[in-house]
Symmetry: C2
Subunit: 292 residues, 2 copies
Amino acid sequence: MEIKTDIFLGDSKEILKSISDNSVDLIITSPPYADQRKNSYGGIKTDEYVNWFLPISEQLLRVLKPSGTFILNIKEKVVNGERSTYVMELIIEMRKQGWFWTEEFIWHKKNSYPGKWPNRFRDSWERLLQFNKNKKFNMYQEEVMVPMGDWAKNRLKKLSETDKKRDESKVGSGFGKNISNWLNRDKAYPTNVLHLATECNNKKHSAAFPESLPEWFIKLFTKEGDTVLDPFTGSGTTNIVAQRMNRNSIGIEIIEDYYNIVKEKINSTKYILFRQEGKYEKTEQKRHTAVR
Amino acid sequence: MEIKTDIFLGDSKEILKSISDNSVDLIITSPPYADQRKNSYGGIKTDEYVNWFLPISEQLLRVLKPSGTFILNIKEKVVNGERSTYVMELIIEMRKQGWFWTEEFIWHKKNSYPGKWPNRFRDSWERLLQFNKNKKFNMYQEEVMVPMGDWAKNRLKKLSETDKKRDESKVGSGFGKNISNWLNRDKAYPTNVLHLATECNNKKHSAAFPESLPEWFIKLFTKEGDTVLDPFTGSGTTNIVAQRMNRNSIGIEIIEDYYNIVKEKINSTKYILFRQEGKYEKTEQKRHTAVR
DNA sequence: GTTCCGCATGAATCGATAG
DNA sequence: ACTATCGATTCATGCGGAA
């Protein structure tokens, strides 16, 4: 099997035009959030955000397969003591474009940014908006089943054994990091609230989401050999995870420095022999118990 | 001190007109959600929901004190495989009325309703929208502080004691837990994600939220002697909790059966002995941690 | 090799200060 | 008056170094 990973340098709005209709199984991205500051990464102003994004979502609608899914990670900023409404306006406008707004997952960021203010608490969650092209779409729910039981106890177990599991933590994380418990035969379907910590290590790109986030959705909405697209690929997390999980992927990045970083980290083609596929199976313990 | 609890029978839109301007410190309510079925409780149709609610929120804006807060518990239903957009439209329209949309808390329902669907997971969260009349409002953050979640330091110390404390720890965000064991210096401010279970005892009113929900917001946004309003009081949870916490409260319910149930459960006046106002302010925090 | 502890830092926000 | 910049605040997490 041959897995292709294509990273493009340029503006998504333009680059997307070169991608075929109905060719992508999953789009997952975390676009630059609206920001009033001018010099920040991709700083689109709040009141321009919807108009900036709509031409891109129009292209995304075109390239997505009818059975595909679009996951949009976004959160509105506080402006003048108030939450902005551009995300809500965006949802409403995207529906007019033809998107179905199927679901809103919540990403609960367990380690949110600290701070103390007189009128609000720390912001500890982000939206993961699920859009679809049709009401019927591919969803492999069994791939992301979680062990039954009290979530609180589970989390505590994980935390007390964090040190032991340090090495496995990056590979395994479906919901969090506890892989050893996956041998339990009693499993349940997850809910639409995801508990993941942000990765606060030395990424050069400030806005990377944790690998477990794209990993979870790639498991849920694609199978091996499918194609994943991230039109704001940043440090390339989506593409790296996709390649590791034997999915073809496309990444687009407008900033040359990030583009170069990603190009260095990823080979454009990954050849999988039978042996290597077996190796992947061993690393991803969850797949063993999942129903194909 | 005398605490008054007034329950009214009738339509909120009308009853609210009898309440004075700028007289309420906190409005917290869980209105009937939109529903396509006609015979369900308060079944307002999806596409009529915003127009149905706006006259009520207009009255709420009038009766709320400038320093007050409005907490709206709501979640959009799935209609034809899609999330409805009426909540977002409502937020946008309420801002036009003059409300500030300060924040959106997430209520993570740890024990969400069971079920399995081919195209979605269990819905395990609801919105708690915070609206304000001014950008400055009363907020008593210390009242809802939670124990520090730094288990790393305590991991392998005092295992037995730690285990006991863990159940009350950060995962619960202070809901339904015994706060008396907390030490002041071990506390942290909470985030905008609230973790609490729905109460699954068979209330006659189907849409009751758990007592810990209004309790948390009453602690956060009011002090003793303040006034709390629930324009859709249902089984009276908000008023019962408010009275127990020595807050005046107003409840409005349109369905006579519920109204009667609440009237039976609550005395309209509660007299509190031996309260010294002067001492109260300084010892407020200790009192709360001691009593609860 | 494991366990323990210190520390940097992360899609933040407000309010004060400077231009 | 209005905008741009900066410091203070604050805590879960994972990494690195030490025991």
